[in-house]
């Protein structure tokens, strides 16, 4: 390697020296360059109609199916992190037009248990490009049930590794898309989506929707209001339309069998109540009377 090149951490993993490339690689490289040029030329020849882009965005964000998936909210370190989801980002990229985005796994090291990933978003018309490269460890944080301590759990299953890589990369691609989109475009989209959520499915008042949601979860999945409160990290009186949207998405995932209620809602720390003691006592008395 000549002295004026900058060494990257990934260089040591490069299999062949850059100077010795095969013919097919050379063809691929030329093709990639041509593709980039063509994309920019095409994009400039078919420029986006901004007013039509706005129109499409307004229509998309008025749809409940998108609004339900537009925001996320997760408990983290005692507080919460909230924001717009990758679903909203992708939809807005499509509405804005001439935006290319994606993720790529650059390198996988099974020995070190990590993947090097890159995510990008590219406005082909203005040729504004945002990308990030990052290392994704093949691991997740898990909780040890008896002691309730968190620990790092290594992933070995290929499907688990792929899912983990994709979900970390999805968050990165979301950020790159929001970087190339105009801020005003995103802000208006979020406002409309929030308004769509506040309208709710039935247009019923929020309190009624909260009660309906709890009822649905209890009847259908055996999940109590207390368990949902623990997951959302706030009492039901403080639930927002976004929280209800997240529950609707979760419910549809349960219905499709993509997620399981017992895994999403570990049993809450249900305190002993006077009613419970009385009920247990009554059922013991009945059992005893039946025996005699």
């Amino acid at each position: 390697m000549s002295s004026n090149t900058i060494a990257l951490p990934s260089d040591k993993h490069t299999q062949a020296p850059a100077t010795r490339i095969t013919q097919s690689t050379a063809v691929e490289q030329a093709r990639a360059v041509a593709e980039v040029q063509a994309a920019v030329v095409v994009a400039q020849q078919c420029p986006r109609d901004v007013s039509r882009a706005i129109e499409r965005m307004r229509q998309a964000c008025s749809q409940k199916a998108l609004a339900d998936r537009a925001f996320y909210s997760l408990p983290r370190a005692g507080g919460k992190v909230e924001g717009s989801t990758v679903h909203l980002a992708r939809e807005l990229a499509a509405c804005w037009g001439n935006v290319d985005y994606g993720i790529r796994e650059l390198r996988r090291d099974d020995e070190a248990g990590e993947s090097e990933m890159s995510a990008w978003a590219w406005d082909q018309e203005t040729n504004v490009r945002s990308s990030r490269s990052f290392i994704v460890p093949h691991a997740i944080m898990a909780t040890d049930r008896p002691s309730r301590t968190k620990f790092r759990k290594s992933l070995t299953d290929l499907g688990d590794i792929a899912n983990n890589n994709n979900s970390v990369a999805a968050r990165a691609v979301r950020e790159t898309i929001f970087t190339v989109l105009p801020v005003w475009f995103r802000v208006e989209a979020e406002e409309i989506a929030a308004k769509t959520l506040a309208g709710g499915v039935s247009g019923a008042p929020l309190q009624q929707q909260v009660a309906d949601a709890i009822g649905h979860f209890e009847r259908t999945y055996g999940v109590t209001g207390g368990q949902i409160e623990e997951r959302l990290q706030r009492p039901r009186a403080q639930w927002t339309p976004q929280d209800l949207a997240a529950l609707r998405v979760l419910a549809s995932e349960f219905d499709r069998g993509e997620k399981r209620p017992v895994e999403e809602f570990p049993r809450e720390d249900r305190r002993v109540t006077a009613e419970e003691v009385a009920a247990q006592s009554a059922s013991r008395d009945t059992a005893e009377a039946a025996e005699q």
Partner: protein, 295 residues
Amino acid sequence: MNIDQPGIYDLGEEAYHADPVEHGSLSASSAKYLLPPHVPADYLWYRQNRPTSRAFDFGHAVHSVILGVGGELVTVMKATRDKTLVPADGWTTVSAQKHAEEIRAEGGVPVLESDRAVVDAMAEKVREHPVAHALLTSGEPERSAFWCDPDTGVWRRCRYDVLPDVPEDGRLIIPDYKTTSSVAPDAFNRKVIDFGYDLQAANYIDTAAALLGLDDVRFVFVAQLNKPPFHVAVIEPSARWITIGRERFALALRTYKRCRETGDWPAYPDPIAIAPPAWVDYAHDDLMAATREES
């Protein structure tokens, strides 16, 4: 009697406390002597000198009446100058102490006549408390349980005041009766710290879970004020308390195993350095600052 199979047994109190497991087992009440501020040498001493104090007899008497088990209450008598026997009004006379010893030897529970009224009043108050009464009558009283800790191979034991019959939903609520000088939450919390009740709660829960194959076991104290008006309170230690108790019990098991293997039950190491705690430091600085202004 020797116990070499994990399980729940109906044992007499003395048999349980004598530890019927051949190579020894650890209970919560003895485990606390293996943990700071105690040292393993305290544990050894405690095992060899189990107390039979007055408070112990009083608590014992209350337990017997409330759970309807244990030895019979026998009024302690003392001899007067003309050798007639009258109920003792205290524990100080030699003849009263001798009689108390005799009662214990026969498996009874010595009680002063004045205490007998207190015990009856306390039992009445518990019967009137619907939740406490339901909890303390939810199963077999005074059951002893033994099992081998999977992590250390050390046997564990505990004696339930009441081991409830497993309810249909599988959620077992284990009560434990305590007499105390205060049932106020903060004051009782202090008792948990002082007497290591967290160890007991965790040991009761984990033992029941292991032996009965349950995964939802709760523990509550039925605490009663030991003076009028004998308030009763049902107090549940939080999940954090149980975790603390569980981790401390695990530490006691490891210490016990190590001491037993090496035969070394250390007391305090020499020499020990001590420093003033932060609050003394601050108070002293404040005092110096104040007197400097004066002079």
